[in-house]
């Protein structure tokens, strides 16, 4: 089936639209001095209608992990996209059925490894729901700080890697430098940088050390400056705008129907944020705004994430101001270990410690689904207890898994180079997708 096609050459530059938004402005051929937009008919190549298959990944840096995309191309246009996943699958949910609740927390580090503290806290919230535990006020505020810091570092990695995919290197260095500052804070708090295991059922692994808040305040002061620098370099950059505006558009109805969540959904104009609509950790008492895009393209997803980082800084500032004194862990012997000095000197405390560690706390039979607004979207932990110390079922609702499932829809009809931009805009983490 040989088809004849014209070669369309669109030459464009960057301008500002009526709504103040950067956009591509086509260079129109006008008069004698204009630019020829179409090749003359005589030299139009006679292309055969052959489709080509190409394979991206699983070992390709632009796939952000071990994602494999098989693309059917017509010229340079994507006709069909078949994603293949599962290269990192290691059965987290199965392993969770053989672990006590506190022993699962290290596994939550490894599902979305850019949002470790957020995952730890979300899992602990689910387990606390099963145990019927109300955490202390200090712990609530500390968890908000942890959640928002992990949102910031996740978005920073997203911004850095996406800039590299699209051809800018400098924002990558800037964002990774700021990310380093947050990792230093995490190291000071719980002793680990990437795989933090920061939470416990009923509290946190540790209270923040003396002087830690000063470091956090310094970060909160310096970080918006870096963000502004990235903003100046990227937001109205001609190449960036040309590569992202109008690419991978999802309408609000489609975005909802495909189950997108997080910045992907909000860039399409749906104002769903778990923190606002189904609040947890007293998020309803913080003053922050949720950015909602209009066009649903890669550019709006970028804008939404940039603004989310600014709002996260606002939340952290408020959390610092209201951080109360008091214990971090609840006073509940079912889940909390006795102090170490007592466990080594008193018989009862030692037995308590031993039973808690070896047998593990047992929640009442029941089930709980806890969803939090993770950087990638609605992250849910669903756990079912039959009254034993280990869950019958531990389910991770992975936002990037569901977001990625819409990629065939988003890349269809776009150029091969746009696939890279669209894939980057989803902000996937393969550890979470494959689990």
């Amino acid at each position: 089936m040989a088809t004849k096609r014209t070669v369309e050459v669109e030459l464009s530059t960057t301008g500002i639209g009526a709504d103040g938004r950067p956009q591509r402005v086509p260079l129109v051929a006008g008069g004698d001095g204009g630019v020829a937009l179409q090749a003359p008919p005589g030299i139009e190549p006679d292309l055969e209608g052959e489709h080509m298959l190409i394979n991206i990944g699983p070992q390709h840096p632009a796939t952000h992990g071990v994602l494999r995309l098989v693309l059917e191309l017509d010229g340079e246009t994507v006709v069909r996209c078949i994603p293949h996943i599962g290269y990192l699958h290691c059965g987290f949910e199965k392993i969770g059925e053989y672990r006590q609740y506190n022993q699962i927390i290290p596994w939550t580090d490894r599902d979305d490894y850019l949002n470790c503290v957020g995952n730890n806290i979300a899992f602990a919230m689910g387990a606390e729901k099963l145990f019927g535990i109300e955490i202390t006020p200090r712990c609530t505020v500390l968890r908000v700080i942890g959640m928002e810091l992990s949102r910031i570092i996740s978005h920073l990695v997203w911004m850095g890697t996406t800039c590299i995919d699209i051809g800018a290197y400098t924002p990558f260095l800037w964002s990774f430098q700021e990310r380093e500052n947050v990792y230093n804070l995490f190291e000071g708090w719980v002793g680990a940088r990437l795989t933090t295991s920061a939470s416990r059922v009923g509290g946190m692994a540790a209270d923040i050390p003396d002087g830690w808040l000063d470091g956090l305040k310094a970060f909160v002061r310096s970080f918006p400056k870096t963000l502004d620098e990235c903003d100046r370099v990227v937001t109205k950059n001609g190449i960036w705008v040309g590569r992202t505006v109008g690419i991978g558009v999802m309408s609000p109805e489609e975005a909802l129907n495909y189950g997108l969540s997080g910045p992907m959904l909000r860039a399409s104009g749906v104002d769903y944020d778990v923190r606002k609509d189904f609040p947890y950790l007293d998020y309803e008492t913080y003053d922050f705004e949720v950015p909602v895009g209009v066009h649903g393209d890669v550019y709006d997803r970028y804008l939404v994430r940039m603004e989310e980082m600014r709002q996260s800084v606002r939340i952290v500032e408020q959390a610092i101001a209201r951080l109360p004194d008091g214990p971090v862990n609840v006073d509940d012997p079912r889940v909390i270990l006795p102090p170490k000095h007592k466990a080594t000197s008193e018989m009862e405390s030692m037995i308590h410690h031993f039973k808690n560690v070896m047998e593990g706390p047992r929640p009442a039979p029941g089930e709980a689904y806890v969803a939090v607004e993770a950087p990638k979207g609605e992250k849910g932990y669903y756990m079912v207890s039959d009254g034993s110390a280990k869950p019958v079922r531990w389910r991770i609702r992975p936002p990037s898994f569901v977001n990625l499932s819409a990629i065939p829809k988003m890349v269809e009809g776009h150029l091969l180079s746009d696939v890279i931009a669209i894939n980057a805009s989803i902000d996937i983490v393969m550890g979470e997708i494959d689990r």
């Binding site: 729901k129 609509d277 689904y369």
Partner: protein, 231 residues
């Protein structure tokens, strides 16, 4: 930024400002109003309603689950426009039924509902697919099939997703599946070494229309010569 609109908590008209739930009881408490509406509409198809840790479970007859979910999605008084999750639960007690679970959200009404369909012991593992209603169910149902072997009837492309298509050990999240897998380490290694890695890149397997004629000559010759694609 002019491109943004601002959302404030509780701005939806007629709805209370949402707040972090506190002092949630284990059993009982206020049920999601949709449960009562479902009872009124579907009667006998709603087998049981329970509230566990503040979340409403509605146990429905499996053969009417699709109809119920479609109504929840379409009816403006419910408008569950968002499918959070599709999953399943098998209990350690093998006499208990396997539960297929749909987590639905109504963003408009700020409601969360858990629907459950039961598959009794010995019954075929089947559930209706909600792909026609929610496109987001595509991969979620494939994963559930991959892990539990539950066949979602009506799904257009139900095949393994996280495990490879030739995976022969069964369905890992079933309780009769041992943690380390059915095959010994030696057998798993043998199979991995014997697998033809080219097969994962075979174009035949992708079933792309007209692609066979466009394969390179040597690849066509190999497929014609009977080289398997990894089956």
């Amino acid at each position: 930024m002019t491109a943004f609109t601002v959302v404030t908590a509780g701005s939806a008209p007629g709805l209370p400002v949402p707040a972090t739930p506190k002092q949630v009881p284990h059993r009982g408490g206020e049920a999601n109003p949709s449960a009562e509406a479902l009872r009124a509409k579907f009667g006998g198809a709603i087998l049981r309603v329970e509230v566990v840790w503040g979340e409403t479970n509605v146990i429905v007859a499996m053969d009417r689950a699709l109809e119920i979910i479609r109504w929840l999605h379409d009816d403006p008084s419910q408008s569950y426009e968002y499918l959070s999750d599709v999953t399943a639960v098998e209990f350690r007690d093998s006499t208990l039924p396997i539960e297929v679970i749909w987590h639905l959200r109504s963003i408009k009404h700020r409601r969360f509902l858990r629907l459950k369909g039961m598959i009794a012991t010995g019954q075929p593992l089947a559930a209706p697919s909600v792909y026609d209603i929610y496109k987001g169910a595509d991969w979620l149902e494939r994963e559930c099939y991959d892990m539990f072997g539950i066949v979602f009837e009506g799904h257009p492309d139900l095949r393994r997703i996280l495990l490879w298509e030739q995976y022969a050990e069964g369905f890992p999240l079933r309780k009769d599946f041992p943690l380390r897998g059915r095959f010994s380490r030696a057998e798993q290694l043998r199979q991995a070494l014997a697998a033809n890695p080219e097969a994962r890149y075979s174009m035949e397997e992708l079933s792309v229309a007209d692609a066979y004629a466009e394969l390179p000559q040597d690849m066509r010759a190999r497929i014609k010569g009977g080289e398997s694609t990894g089956e």
